[in-house]
């Protein structure tokens, strides 16, 4: 059950999207998000959608996987959409009951918002689907490295993140073991009301915490034995090299952004 965690799941592959420099991928994703949020009409989003679909196609990751990441947010999306439809008051009125009105403006905003959020999720999923968490951490460390000048502990944060990632499978395994051990002693973990189950989780969390502290202590000693002394003067085995491909991807993204703005300006003039 614990093995199905899908947050930030990575699908190894060798597509052109996989091979992009992770630093560029992060920057491109940020530009993409900016594009979705500055676009003020449907045409602008259509450009974003085309861009997303091309990227998804190039990544060779099945659309099904993107549906998986959108699905958990659907109830939230629908509720907001319904509220928008009923409460926004602008344009032609299609239906009216007491203070609730269904208007053209309301429907537009709901549709617009749903598309925007879905595209947003798809784009950011694409980043985590095509970049391994450890590469992502590495890229974040390098992108944030200018902050070192402001005494921001960039290296320490990245080290913490990568150790956390390293220990996720270990701790999951350990949790499974502790659960079995507690079940063997008669603990009821899967039954009872929400509250009793939450209470019973304590019998799993306490040993898990204790063993994590022991692990952390041993790991710290092992790291010291291997001459770890912070980020100063470190070299890296993983080399990140930006190539022409990365620059081209960035330029294409910027062109799409420019196109989205241009199209929406033209569209505005036509509507007048």
């Amino acid at each position: 059950m614990l093995r199905d965690v899908t947050i930030g799941q990575y699908f190894p592959g060798n597509s052109i999207i996989h091979r992009l420099d992770p630093r560029f991928k992060i920057v491109i994703t940020l530009i993409y998000i900016l594009m979705l949020f500055t676009g003020s009409n449907v045409v602008c989003l259509a450009v974003g959608a085309v861009y997303t679909l091309i990227a998804v196609f190039l990544s060779r990751i099945p659309l099904k996987m993107f549906w998986k990441s959108v699905k958990p947010l659907l109830p939230f999306l629908l509720i907001t959409a319904v509220l928008n439809v009923l409460l926004v008051d602008s344009g032609d009125v299609y239906f009216k009951w007491k203070f609730l009105k269904v208007t053209e403006g309301g429907i537009n905003i709901s549709v617009f918002m749903i598309i925007r959020i879905v595209l947003l999720i798809m784009g950011s999923s694409l980043l985590t689907y095509t970049t391994s968490p450890i590469t992502l951490t590495d890229a974040i460390e390098r992108l944030l490295s200018p902050l070192k000048l402001l005494k921001f502990p960039v290296h320490e944060l990245a080290m913490m993140m990568s150790i956390a990632l390293r220990f996720v499978p270990t701790l999951i395994e350990e949790t499974d073991k502790i659960m079995s051990a507690q079940k063997a002693r008669g603990a009821e973990i899967d039954t009872g009301s929400f509250l009793t189950r939450a209470k019973n989780m304590i019998s799993i969390l306490v040993p898990l915490f204790i063993s994590s502290f022991r692990r952390a202590d041993e790991l710290a000693t092992a790291m010291e034995c291997r001459c770890y002394n912070g980020g100063e003067g470190r070299t890296r085995l993983r080399q990140l090299k930006a190539s022409a491909r990365d620059v081209i991807a960035l330029v294409i993204t910027l062109m799409f952004y420019a196109a989205a703005i241009a199209v929406s300006i033209i569209f505005k003039h036509l509507m007048k």
């Binding site: 150790i163 390293r166 692990r215 000693t221 092992a222 010291e224 291997r226 770890y228 890296r236 085995l237």
Partner: protein, 283 residues
Amino acid sequence: MENIIEISGLHFSYPSDGDTEPAEVLKGIDLTIKEGEFVAVLGHNGSGKSTLAKHINAILLPTEGKVVVDGIDTADESRLFELRQRAGMVFQNPDNQIVSSVVEEDVAFALENLGVPYEEMRRRVDESLKAVNMYDYRQHSPSQLSGGQKQRIAIAGIIAMQPKCIILDEPTAMLDPQGRREVMATIKKMNREQGITIVLITHYMDEAAQCDRVVVMDKGTVALDDTPREVFSHVERVMEIGLDVPQVTELAWELRKAGCDIPQDIITEDECVAAIQKLFAAK
């Protein structure tokens, strides 16, 4: 041969935590280990063998006495990283000493810390992985590996530093028999082919029997220090300390007690088989 580890008059106490008296764990140890030696350190729980090991690369510092490794006094803080590079340490739990999610990056960890340039790092990482026979797994995640494989990765991470000496603190204690064999074979190979001094802390007597020299610790002192053959021939003394002798040695000892004419210094299965065959042939 030169001495690589020189321990003289070593006393160590863990600091008291207020209510209790400081417990003296090591009570005057004198020990020298020569370059290229393969030494096993035996002792039951609480005999101070792990504490001793932690003095060799300055995880702990002596309360009294001196530890010098390859000419570096462990108390000399300015040469700490130099010392740790020359005397690497492998621990019991393979999971708790692997830092990275990718095998080759873990092997590179020490080299990254030492600021080794990329080309040389690449070469040393590949060589180390080949030396422990894990090169094909370089892109794997450690969580996909068995205990024995993880322990070999940990060893690769140490030999990448090109140390003169490796201290292994019960590296096989958490492994299955297959993993134990793999790790022992790797350690022996490092000793034989690269001439790395090995200090192996263990509680497996058959592992100790494969070493050049056995140091038996008891209550914070060195009780016995000799070749495995000599140490294990003192069966009663070893058992008095609370340790076992290798199974074949015990068998020979029991047979002798029962009046059979069998040599006292048997430590390997082959020797035992040969001696028993001789016994039958004589009848």
